[in-house]
Symmetry: C2
Subunit: 491 residues, 2 copies
């Protein structure tokens, strides 16, 4: 059943562009006001083969793929923009990413998409010496391996080795089927560290790494999820590394434009400011309700993270397994910050700009100077507990803290930036956090299979459902490809 | 500002009864259909001093108290009945509770309410011998202390002692302020058992107790929450005991009738089938939207559990702390079952009916024969993992499993009941589980203060917010009393 969406209102059939743009004009009021009462005039029902919920990389990939197979699709996006957990910003005249931004060499689906859409990458700057300040020991070092004290280093290497060995045994797509899944899932990373580390610096280091990777605290993250996440990336090392790892390269003009390009290609099939309120299934299809009207389809792909998808009303109700999962997959806490300077002054001292510290609220941060070389800039994060502490404060307070933290290591030049730009993901009602959902103990083993298990005509996508690079843009793309492939066989 | 609610629609003011019953008639369509479009005719705005969200014991108590102080209230309930996590059922001609049912001697607020409303209690039947079958050891015993093997008993006593000693140090109302809160909160009950038990029978016993108290698995529950829950009940022993503990007595005619009586007293101020869709705050008050119309109030008390309250749209949005909490407080998984027999045949063998086993899906179960003595009945639970496993199956399959499990211990007479009655709380979209929200590690210490922290004109109540008997009806009442007292000072 190919072809464009058609309008069933009054039995009239209109060409896609007109039909959708009319809905677009009618649905200007969104969010709260739209919830109260749906404009009666907007109650048109459009028919497509597949409704996709969410215009992030998962949803846009799903829609593109299905359309390429000749199927009619619509992408319903709650926000006023596409991109999901990627977002475009501008600071000191440069385009930057306020959400996901990096790509690594094994993130082959993201690299392929960028190549297809003609967007080039460039390496993350890592020349010069990194700084570290952990458990009272402050040092500069070169390369990927953080330097701790001489006594701590052997234990650090041993603990990383243990983590890698455990991760290598986890089936990334079904971590709940690991041999000792129940036991691993009964632990947090923190409780495991308590049993497997002696040196405070090692413990602190793994805590900081956990926080940077998951934007959550080691005491919140299930050990099984931690290991499965590493397994889905190939290794723990792949998660934390710059060169060769998940922070290897950046996109010229930002990664968000890939979403923008996909959306442009989909044209009026992407409907913004259309939060899905309900999904009703019957014997022949699904009816999807938004303040911008109703859609009827044979199948639906929900790409929103479980905690967001839980706000949709389902008829019939979700199975207990799936609803239970949505109650147990909180998003991490994160605030992303860009700071622009007139020049990358830290390079003068031979520093890479990268700082790992247990004495700051903000961090880690990275050199993010534009390739133009005209200005210097840093990008960094409040992650986990610090993101929580700072999310509900003012931008001025956060800015002051960020500059103070940077100055502590890079000097007073850090105190006079050209511009400050931030995105408080964890206070956004449509996102509720980032980068990814982070279940605590006992969730994956008990509810994990519900991550991808279809419910009638509903398929689940999104980076949380990926079988590789869970939590990353690459995983989102993979999940969309999987959903499209699955449905292409049904349509 | 006392007096009844008045209708602001068209500037007309109508007496409360007419106004509300009109809305009642208009809003017959609820749930999904009501979400799609609000009947334009129902868009009346009524004014009260306080809107209360949820007609469980917390909400009804709040409303009663505020009205007693002369304030105008409305209670908006999503369901078609009052009672929240209590609910009335009928089996073999007897009224029973499909939700909360027991009361203990230190649950003084619930006892006081029952006394005030003229409902008598009677003791839980505990004559005869209990049966136990743990880690391959099967026995019968008398009294409250479960019997394990002679080698296991000393360790069991020691572990219970450790739990009691740790719980005694937790400030029940602010567990995140315990001296070693972070460390306790990094563990699950299961990871703690791994470090503190040697005998498998002891481990299994604590796991079963955890499951019975929290309707969640030991590997899912934060150790800090586990201890705080015990602290809020006075002791761990108070949670697990029949005589003198939380399962001490029952209500003649069921506990649900207390909710019913409170609701009857509140009359048309309780509006059923009115799911709150949005709460908008401004300088002078709150506007609350439901499919049955809008309410305007000076304050609002939300008594729904965090995971349910997270589905409401808030303007301005919730602070990150509060939203973060709502993502991390899943409800436990529970199915409650009543089984009626022509007579309490187990009593013939001198058995109490209570069975604790690690070999059954269903259990524990208790003698629940009516005081009339006419028939015999049992009441029991699928809790935690078994509730998950069985929630999405058919009632016939569950019934067969329940009877098989009971027969294993009480004999083949168990296979021929007069009637079977169940409530699958964990598959109810309006409840999403029971008995209570059960956070995993790292939640209380990081997000706990948001449990009760007001957000502008919003107050939070419900048993999860109680300072004593968290998770019980008594705690719900206490939370309502606290919310009413707080607001009485502001109004």
């Amino acid at each position: 059943m190919a072809g464009g969406p058609h309008d069933e209102h009054d039995g009239k059939r209109e060409p896609r562009g007109i039909s959708l743009s009319r809905r677009g004009a009618l649905g200007a009021a969104v969010g709260l006001s739209a919830l109260g009462a749906q404009d009666a005039a907007a109650r048109t029902t459009s028919s497509v083969d597949v409704v996709v919920v969410g215009a992030g990389f998962a949803g846009l990939t799903t829609a593109r793929r299905l359309r390429a197979s000749g199927h009619a699709v619509v992408v319903l996006e709650a926000d006023e923009r596409v991109g999901g957990r990627t977002k475009q910003g501008r600071i000191a005249g440069e385009v930057v990413d306020l959400g996901g931004q990096w790509v690594g060499p094994t993130q082959t689906r993201l690299l392929a998409l960028a190549k297809e859409l003609g967007v080039a990458t460039y390496p993350q700057y890592d020349a010069g010496r990194n700084m570290i300040d952990i458990a009272g020991y402050r040092a500069v070092y070169k390369g990927e391996t953080p330097q701790l004290t001489a006594e701590a280093m052997p234990e650090f290497a041993e603990v990383i080795g243990k983590i890698e060995a455990m991760a290598a045994k986890i089936p990334a797509a079904q971590p709940w089927q690991a041999a000792d899944a129940e036991q691993l899932d009964a632990h947090t990373v923190e409780s495991w560290l308590g049993l497997n580390t002696k040196h405070p610096a090692v413990r602190t280091m793994i805590r900081l790494m956990t926080r940077a990777v998951f934007s959550a605290e080691a005491g919140q993250v299930s050990l099984l999820y931690f290991l499965a996440y590493a397994a889905a990336a190939g290794s723990f090392n792949a998660l934390i590394s710059t060169r060769g790892g998940a922070q290897d390269a950046l996109f010229e003009g930002g990664v968000w434009q890939l979403a923008q390009k996909m959306a442009a290609e989909l044209g009026s099939a992407v409907v913004l400011e259309a939060p899905v309120q309900s999904i009703a299934q019957d014997g022949t299809g699904v009816t999807v309700t938004t303040p911008k009207g109703e859609w009827r389809a044979r199948y639906i792909v929900v790409t929103a993270p479980p905690a967001i998808a839980s706000r949709i009303q389902y008829a019939p109700p979700l199975p207990a397994q799936r609803d239970g999962l949505t109650q147990r997959m909180p998003l991490g806490c994160v605030i992303k910050v860009h700071i622009a300077y007139s020049r990358p002054f830290w390079r003068d001292q031979g520093l890479s700009g990268l700082v790992l510290s247990d004495r700051t609220e903000f961090g880690p941060w990275f050199d993010h100077s534009p390739t133009s070389g005209k200005t210097g800039s840093l990008v960094g994060f409040f992650d986990g507990a610090p993101a929580q502490r700072w999310a509900d404060r003012t931008v001025e307070a956060r800015r002051a803290q960020v500059l103070k933290d940077i100055a502590l290591y890079l000097g007073d030049a850090a105190l006079t930036p050209v511009e400050y730009l931030e995105e408080v993901w964890t206070r956004s009602p449509l996102n509720r956090g980032g980068y990814v959902s982070v279940p605590g103990p006992g969730v994956l083993t008990a509810f994990g299979p519900a991550l991808r298990e279809p419910f009638g005509r509903i398929r689940w996508a999104g980076t949380e459902t990926a079988e590789a690079w869970v939590g990353y843009i690459d995983g989102a793309i993979r999940s969309g490809e999987r959903a499209a492939l699955d449905l292409a066989g049904q349509l």
